[in-house]
Symmetry: C2
């Protein structure tokens, strides 16, 4: 086991890498803990949950909504959960997002920790304290920023991960490399999902490296005034099309990254779109979809990154170097139109 | 106008006492503000809202629930509210509680301020950053602690206040006096609601004094580790019976204070229950109700002040001096039983 800590504004978060699920008993008092997981994770790992109070939610982004929060709160009340209760989210990004959110508002805030079970959650979703739920087509429209007490990484959970979930995880890994780590980008170019699946050491290193990239960015800028915005690379168009077209998150942001690369060529003199598109495709990710520019634009107008008439858009200057550029929302409409027609 | 500021952990709150509603235009950009109010306040003061984007909710504690939050969020989306949008809650405690809560979670938190319109909101509910909603019979089970940017006091709003709302406000004023300010308690004993209604200067001083008592306590202990617990005097049994019996908040906590006085005689050698009961009755507040001890106890078990098997109960040592005493939940059951039978 490898232990790292990050000090965020209001909380210290401890990461336990390469740990076993059973270590959870050392981190929380089993009597006062409630696990939140989804039916898929629960069915795949039933034995691990023995003896833990567990709330099981339906699996999938479409359940990351208020009605699921309501159900969880009802069950917490049923089990007499109080201010000393510790919530543990065991699952992918939907479970960790909703667990963090419930923990932020139940009795005005109780403690919580995560056991990410998907690659995407391990390298991205469970890190950084952003939590929340979707409202209609609007991703994460409601939520809070609140750090978990711990993140427990049991890599054996990845054994049951589906192919499409591996692909999803690599979308965020490629994003980290594109905005921040050119060397990682090159390593990824030389590798493949299959290679990582066969090499436990390389995979473990990859996950830790990505968790560290994201954590370092968040530590510098927890409330997203500057640096943290970089993590939204691919997420502007990505989020707009994700719920509209019911795409997996990785697919949506992959298409978003490809689109952002084209905008980067127009606005930031970026030259390597082809390399980004190639690596995305190598990891099984789509880079195109049919989207109706005007509909995407309607959803974009509600993006949290919008500030009145300007959208903070993340572009690449070069591989490994993301930049944030405020673009007038009106212009963005035209730009999106031009990309759509070009494709 | 009288301006005061309090520095809380994460925010400075500015109080504008004896201001005019129209001063709101100086505090927020009208273009980017959305007012939340209830139908009663809106109907009584229609002219004041001219030119402001306004969301009107139904009036009453029974609407301080998630479905109202959902409606507000839908309307914020409709009006393209974004991270720069400023929410202003204009109303009593229900409006300020729900406005603060929506502002805490919409887009993971936007700015907000309050214009309290009831005496209760002016001296208590709008101060201190606690916000939230009820879940079933459980008061404020879901919420956050998050300070508003400002509080604007327009005393002319009190002109339209009903008798029962005056009585409600005095319940919290008497509470402040009982736990913290013996001199204020004596002043209150010499006065009456009618006297304050006739004397604008005395009323204004009373409101400022009470707002300061509460703010000073919150400033010392924003997250309720110690001192702030005192403000829960009367609120343990009070909250338990409020939604069960659909009582006005002031009535419920008045009964709660009377009960807490009796517990104080048993557990803290308090001698002045009769004085407290007398002043509550002088201000039109009930001190008794029929409650079924076992049902109250069931609701109490979910009280946020409970920590596993102990409840932090606020008692009086003497007039003007509240104390917090942890009482085992089991014992509390018996104590409540004994009070109920005694009445």
């Amino acid at each position: 086991m490898q232990k790292k800590t990050f000090q965020f504004s209001s909380k210290t978060v401890t990461y336990y890498f390469d740990a076993d699920f059973s270590y959870l008993e050392k981190l929380v008092n089993k009597e006062h803990a409630v696990i939140i997981t989804d039916e898929n994770v629960f069915d795949l790992h039933k034995k691990k949950f023995a003896g833990w109070k567990t709330i099981i939610i339906k699996a999938g982004e479409e359940f990351k909504v208020q009605s699921t929060v309501d159900l969880i709160i009802d069950q917490l009340i049923q089990s007499n959960a109080d201010r000393k209760t510790f919530l543990v989210g065991v699952g992918g990004g939907v479970v960790t997002d909703i667990t963090g959110y419930v923990a932020s508002v139940y009795m005005r805030g109780i403690q919580f920790g995560f056991v990410p079970s998907s690659l995407l959650a391990m390298v991205d979703a469970s890190i950084g304290g952003k939590n929340g739920i979707d409202v209609g087509v609007y991703k994460n429209l409601v939520g809070a920023i609140n750090q978990p007490t711990f993140l427990l990484y049991d890599f054996s959970l990845l054994k049951t991960l589906s192919k499409s979930e591996w692909v999803n995880g690599f979308a965020e890994i490629i994003k980290h490399a594109a905005i921040k780590d050119a060397a990682l980008f090159e390593t990824l170019e030389k590798n493949s999902i299959g290679a990582y699946q066969k090499n436990k050491t390389a995979l473990s290193k990859l996950i830790v490296r990505n968790a560290m990239i994201k954590s370092a960015i968040v530590k510098k800028d927890e409330f997203e005034k500057g640096e943290r915005k970089l993590l939204n690379f691919g997420h502007t168009i990505g989020h707009a099309i994700e719920n509209m077209q019911k795409l997996p998150h990785g697919h949506a942001i992959s298409i978003g990254m490809a689109a952002a690369c084209m905008l980067s060529e127009q606005l930031a003199d970026f030259k390597s779109s082809a390399r980004v598109v190639k690596i995305l495709e190598k990891y099984g990710l789509p880079t195109k979809t049919d989207f109706k520019a005007s509909k995407v634009f309607d959803v974009l107008k509600m993006d949290k990154k919008k500030e009145q008439t300007t959208m903070n858009y993340v572009l690449l200057k070069k591989i490994g170097q993301g930049i944030v550029k405020p673009i007038p929302v009106d212009e963005l409409g035209e730009l999106i139109q031009s990309i759509t027609m070009a494709r």
